[in-house]
């Protein structure tokens, strides 16, 4: 069955909706009604368009939503999505009620199931068997819920809703999904979906990957995982998804010691993290080491064309033989130091720098826009007083070269720097060369804010650090 009822249900019931502002049930209802838990928190949340029902036997109305004693009392013939935030012990009964209302999907936020031991596992199995029989898919239990910003659906108790975008984030840690939302608001990260997996009793990472493969809004998929139950199945799913949509994985538990003592050389060398990394790479996925890298890389992969580093092939007219020559990226900068650092980072990530041909240098000279002391090489240092027209001439000239596959554009701030116009130059270049990725490094803060916003609006990856730009290029070439 499709997961669509989770992401765009025609109506929703919240079981355990509460008047206590510090409860999960209140938080979930508030998220649905306001788009965020705390009205006034600068999120982008809007009320969900579908009908919302609150289930609470002791209240008449919460947050302007009329309360019903049980699911069965809800006047609608059927309920598409049931969100459950009540004590674990009564969840199987709620699931039976949900079945009577022809529910298609349930988000079980309640904890106290398989994660707590044998008793909880029994309860989880009971809930699951009721749901399976009724054809209800379950997200959770023990999860934060899910957010689909394009549909204004915040079915979680996360603080707010992040802006709608093209990156899906599926997390085995609910709290991590939560914190990322607040951070995303500040860092201008945007999402097509955020899903907290919880115990994955039913809907697991494989189901969500396949959903994201079909989801028109999603262009890149990010995962925070601590483990997968069936490694071979996970690899098969990744192999289906990665040819169409990039999957970037952050794996927790890197330092975890194996459950049993290893007794061979191979046993000690082939640790579980190393094997996990190999499995992801073999299946076309990318691995990163931190939360920041996860979303930095996702932004580039979602928005940019791939960096094509396949060698140039030319036929030698003299003997008809094929001559191959390498391609690479060009670093265009108005600051020497930032350019040198960026070149170093490109080296670390295995991203080759293109050699600028004599014809390319001649064309730059002929543009009449270059400073007499410009570097005439790669990194292409335009010198500190570079104005937008110099950036434009440089970018168009280098990107016209067939051995140049992409460009990193660095801007450091000087008194004469015209940051917003420089950003427009980058946007124009990306439109003129749609097959060649351009990554921007507009270093600064307050005075670069407007230009960074412009770059974001035009889906040009921008970072405040040349290392991140080099990593993004490596990701675009499939080198991570």
């Amino acid at each position: 069955m499709t997961l669509e009822p989770f992401f765009s249900p025609k109506n929703i019931a919240v079981v355990g909706a509460s008047r206590d502002v510090n409860s999960v049930g209140y938080g979930v209802l508030s998220s649905l009604v306001h788009g965020c838990v705390k009205p006034g928190v600068p999120g982008e949340g809007k009320p969900y368009a579908g009908e919302i029902y609150a289930i609470n036997p002791n209240a008449d109305e919460i947050l302007g939503v009329k309360c019903h004693k049980t699911l069965e009392d809800v006047p609608a013939e059927s309920i598409a999505l049931v969100i459950i935030a009540v004590h674990a012990s009564i969840v199987p009964q709620i699931m039976r009620d949900a079945a009577k209302k022809h529910a298609k999907a349930a988000i079980v936020i309640s904890a106290g199931f398989g994660e707590t031991g044998a008793e909880g596992k029994k309860l989880q199995n009971e809930m699951l068997s009721v749901a399976r029989e009724a054809g209800i898919r379950i997200l959770g239990p023990n999860c934060l819920g899910l957010i689909a910003p394009h549909n204004n659906l915040n079915a979680s108790f996360a603080l707010s809703t992040p802006p709608a975008g093209n990156v899906a984030f599926f997390s085995q840690s609910g709290a991590m999904a939560d914190s990322i939302i607040d951070w995303a608001l500040r860092e201008r990260y945007t999402f097509s979906a955020i899903v907290s997996l919880g115990n994955s009793a039913d809907v697991d990472v494989n189901d969500l990957l396949l959903w994201a493969l079909e989801d028109a809004n999603t262009k890149a998929i990010t995962l925070y995982l601590e483990g997968v139950s069936d490694g071979r199945k996970f690899m098969d799913t990744l192999r289906r998804v990665t040819p169409t949509k990039p999957v970037i994985v952050l794996k927790g538990g890197k330092s975890a010691v194996g459950l049993h003592a290893v007794s061979s050389h191979t046993g000690s060398l082939a640790g579980s993290y190393k094997v996990f990394t190999a499995a992801v790479h073999q299946s076309g996925g990318l691995m990163v080491d931190s939360i920041e890298e996860l979303f930095d890389v996702a932004r580039a992969k979602a928005d940019s064309p791939a960096l094509d580093l396949s060698p140039l092939e030319k036929t030698n007219p003299a003997d008809g033989s094929i001559v191959r020559s390498p391609k690479g990226v060009v670093i265009v900068t108005n600051g020497g130091g930032a350019g040198v650092l960026c070149a170093d980072y490109c080296g670390d990530f295995g991203v080759p720098l293109a050699e600028l041909s004599a014809e390319c240098i001649a064309a730059l000279d002929a543009s009449g826009k270059m400073h007499p002391a410009y570097s005439r090489g790669n990194p292409l240092d335009l010198v500190g007083d570079a104005l937008p027209e110099r950036y434009a001439a440089a970018l168009h000239t280098v990107l016209s070269q067939e051995n140049v596959s992409g460009a990193i554009v660095i801007q450091t701030l000087q008194t004469m720097t015209n940051s917003i116009e420089d950003a427009r130059v980058v946007v124009q270049a990306s439109k003129a060369f749609p097959d060649k990725p351009i990554v921007a490094v507009f270093m600064g803060g307050k005075y670069t804010e407007e230009s960074i916003n412009l770059l974001r609006e035009h889906s040009i990856p921008d970072y405040n650090d040349p290392q991140k730009a080099a990593r993004a290029m490596a990701a675009l070439a499939g080198l991570l």
């Binding site: 997968v228 139950s229 690899m235 061979s264 094997v275």
Partner: protein, 212 residues
């Protein structure tokens, strides 16, 4: 986890066309004497026991044996050193020179059989420079495995310190190990360390296979 005995290990290797160095298992001095006719000095003599995993540390490997006298001495010393152990076999091996590699395998609890490659010898854990793939692998993946480790220096056209190894032979070995592991789910860990490789061959010198 039980260690597979010498005979079963040798049989498994030959079934998968995994070449071991020239070796003969012996139980007595008479057998040793007969066996040595097919060897040229220097040779290696080892005691294989079910209990011991690190033979070198226990003094159960005698290398560089260059004469009949030294061979007799080595055998007496090994017998004395293993008085209190159940010895599987004593193993007489041709001493080889070449580059020491490790080819290994492990059944991962999540992903199942995996194959490992790296520079071998007694310092592999110290060096920590190996590549891993989930099995099954083909020769293309085996090539990737070789070239992402520091051992790759030996496989480049220019070689390293006048030593050049044959990538095709090592790739075939990795693919064979992958096949062996896929067809034998009862194997939990497998160490071929060292594998001694030269420009035209790669021989397993020490094989340890652990089963459920």
């Amino acid at each position: 986890m039980p260690l597979l005995g010498y005979a079963a290990t040798a049989e498994l290797l030959s079934r998968y066309q995994i070449p071991a160095c020239h070796q003969v298992a012996i139980q007595s001095q008479d057998q040793l004497w007969a066996a040595k006719q097919s060897f040229e000095y220097p040779v290696v003599l080892k005691a294989l026991s079910q209990q011991t995993s690190h033979k070198t540390e226990k003094g159960l490997v005698k290398v560089g044996i260059a004469s009949d006298t030294q061979l007799m001495e080595a055998f007496s010393e090994l017998q004395a050193a293993t008085l209190n152990e159940k010895v599987d076999v004593f193993l007489l091996q041709q001493q080889l020179s070449g580059v020491e590699l490790i080819v290994g395998g492990k059944r991962d609890s999540t992903f199942g059989p995996t194959v490992l490659f790296g520079l071998g010898g007694i310092m592999v854990e110290l060096v920590q420079d190996s590549s891993v793939r989930v099995a099954p692998i083909d020769t293309r993946v085996a090539t990737e495995m070789i070239f992402e480790t520091k051992a790759s220096a030996f496989f480049r056209p220019e070689g390293f310190r006048k030593r050049k190894l044959n990538a095709g032979i090592v790739e075939q070995l990795l693919v064979s190990v992958s096949k062996l592991l896929m067809e034998h789910p009862e194997i939990s860990e497998l160490d071929f360390n060292p594998v001694i490789a030269t420009s035209d061959a790669a021989f397993v010198v020490d094989a340890r296979i652990l089963t459920d």
